[in-house]
């Protein structure tokens, strides 16, 4: 009975947060809903195996995409803590076997958080010629009482593709400590993207590391942050060209839009092969004046123009 109530409450919050409720109710769509450290629903589809082990302090998940499986619909994950306080610790092991293809859409919901910790420790292996797209979107309340600590180690096999996008723009971030490290094998293509909107007293720490270990591996570590009020952010984007003809890029943009904001960026590009090439661009600054004037010349107020620019950057 408790599980049913939690399920309903999670679905309600998920729907309010913009999640696709129909997808969660559709038996053809793989899904997994976890409230706190309890699994409230799970649905496997052909080609996907989800093993779950509830622990006192967290949930272990083994997510397997079988060899050659092309998953038709995105798999929906929903993690959340609805009470004001709580700890959610997800130990995630992902295995996308060779030649598989899947898109995973995760919603993380903490609408009432005053003192909530959400930790994810992921070990992800993408097989040869497999493609894995992972989109994680957070919905937080306005109190800023969440600590989000996602850590991932990702290995991408030969000709494998990894694309991840982490978005935290609804509500207050609270504290974000994001740390993704990726190792790309021969001809792999990898992209790490983080988008965050810091407000009030939010603290954001982003580490994106890409090791291009195989010949002709490509990687992009991209981040887009907008900081208001007294928000503070540090972004470290690192790309290592360790093999011939690897191509990597670090692209960081932080928009400073508050009196007490502190924004820092440390890009690191490292090459130890003479045929490798990695580049970086990092820009920190206020809203672009030219963009602002252009929109104001179309009749938008300054506030509305800033809103349009910020939404575009964080989209």
């Amino acid at each position: 009975m408790i599980v049913v109530r939690e399920h309903e409450a999670m679905l309600k919050a998920y729907g309010k947060a913009g999640g696709n409720l129909r997808a969660l109710r559709n038996k053809e769509v793989g899904n997994l809903v976890i409230h706190g450290n309890e699994v409230v629903s799970a649905n496997e589809v052909e080609g996907i195996r989800i093993e779950i082990q509830e622990r006192g302090a967290g949930v272990n998940i083994h997510f397997l995409v079988e060899e050659g499986a092309k998953i038709k619909y995105p798999v929906h994950l929903c993690f959340g803590v609805l009470p004001k306080e709580g700890l959610q610790e997800i130990i995630l092991r992902v295995e996308a076997q060779a030649d598989s293809e899947v898109t995973v859409v995760a919603h993380c919901i903490f609408p009432n958080a005053v003192d909530v910790v959400h930790k994810m420790d992921a070990d992800i292996r993408i097989g040869d010629n497999a493609k894995f797209c992972y989109q994680e979107t957070h919905y937080h309340g306005e109190l800023g009482g969440v600590k989000v600590i996602p850590k991932a180690r990702i290995r991408v096999g030969k000709k494998g593709v990894w694309q991840s996008a982490f978005t935290l723009i609804e509500g207050c971030v609270g504290m974000l400590d994001y740390d993704f490290e990726l190792f790309g094998d021969e001809k792999s293509v990898s992209e790490l993207l983080v988008k965050a909107f810091g407000k009030k007293e939010d603290e954001i720490d982003v580490v994106e590391k890409i090791h291009l270990d195989g010949r002709e591996a490509r990687g992009l570590a991209k981040s887009r942050l907008v900081l208001n009020d007294n928000a503070k952010a540090m972004v470290r984007g690192e790309t290592y060209g360790n093999a011939p003809f690897t191509r990597g890029h670090v692209d960081c943009l932080e928009i400073v839009n508050g009196e007490g904001v502190i924004a820092r960026a440390i890009p690191l590009v490292y090459v130890n092969d003479r045929q490798a090439k990695v580049t970086h661009e990092a820009a920190i600054g206020s809203i672009d004046n030219k963009q602002l004037r252009t929109l104001m010349a179309r009749g938008l107020s300054e506030e509305k123009a800033i809103d349009v620019i910020v939404k575009g950057i964080l989209r």
Partner: protein, 238 residues
């Protein structure tokens, strides 16, 4: 409709706009021709309210708007397309065209067709660095048209673009005039001003001559091709 009266602006001790007068009539294309550095873009910024003059006034529909802010002027019906349009990450062409007012999809499509951009190909493209210079200028012109302004200031819409884009830009300017907007077409190209009904020649921060485009182009050729800054106060021979 738009009247510039004895406008003056000095920057770093140098007069950039030096007692400039001229008028833009309702629904007409008014060309403003001058070599680089004569103050054309500065004038555009003054009319839009990006900066303010030291002396003189800008009158729009009988109202002195010299000290009005950018947004106020825009809401009265004045807009500006800059020489180097801004790029917007994450904003699609369709959204960009709709920032000034709500448009239905047919209207958006029509504006894109006017500047030769097939909607199916461009509607969802981002207004960012992925667009070429010519494409970006055509999108800018479409967005100005979409606003249906009373006066559109176009700062060198023809500069730095490819040969394919140019006729579409010129078509857009003509269409804008047909839809009832007055256009202040700022350029240093004599070819571009052929669409204008009237042409003013600008030199050293002043309008030094105005009249029919063909006549003015000839005058420009004779007097300004090897620029001797005839607009400067010391010049006596015009």
């Amino acid at each position: 409709m738009l009247e510039i009266r004895s406008l003056k602006l000095t920057l770093n001790g140098k007069p950039v706009i030096d007692g400039l007068d001229f008028k833009v009539k309702e629904g007409k294309i008014h060309g403003l021709l001058g070599v680089n550095g004569t103050g054309k873009s500065t004038l555009a910024n003054l009319i839009m309210g990006i900066s303010y003059p030291d002396e003189g006034s800008i009158v729009f529909e009988g109202q002195d708007i010299t000290r009005y802010a950018i947004t106020e002027r825009a809401r009265m019906g004045i807009t500006l397309a800059w020489q180097e349009p801004a790029r917007f990450e994450g904003l699609s062409v369709g959204e960009y065209l709709s920032v000034s007012r709500d448009l239905d999809s047919t209207e958006i499509d029509n504006y894109l067709w006017v500047v030769g951009l097939p909607p199916a190909e461009y509607l969802n493209r981002a207004v960012d660095a992925s667009l070429s210079g010519g494409e970006r200028k055509r999108v800018e012109l479409a967005s100005v048209m979409a606003m249906k302004p009373k006066v559109a200031i176009l700062d060198e819409p023809d500069s730095g673009i490819d040969v394919i884009s140019l006729p579409h830009i010129m078509n857009g300017i003509t269409e804008m005039s047909k839809q009832g907007s007055a256009v202040l077409l700022i350029t240093h190209s004599q070819e571009a001003v052929t669409v204008a009904g009237e042409l003013s020649i600008m030199c050293a921060g002043r309008v030094i001559n105005s009249g029919p485009p063909r006549e003015m182009c000839q005058w420009f050729k004779n007097n300004c091709s090897a620029c001797n800054h005839i607009g400067e106060p010391s010049y006596q021979g015009a």
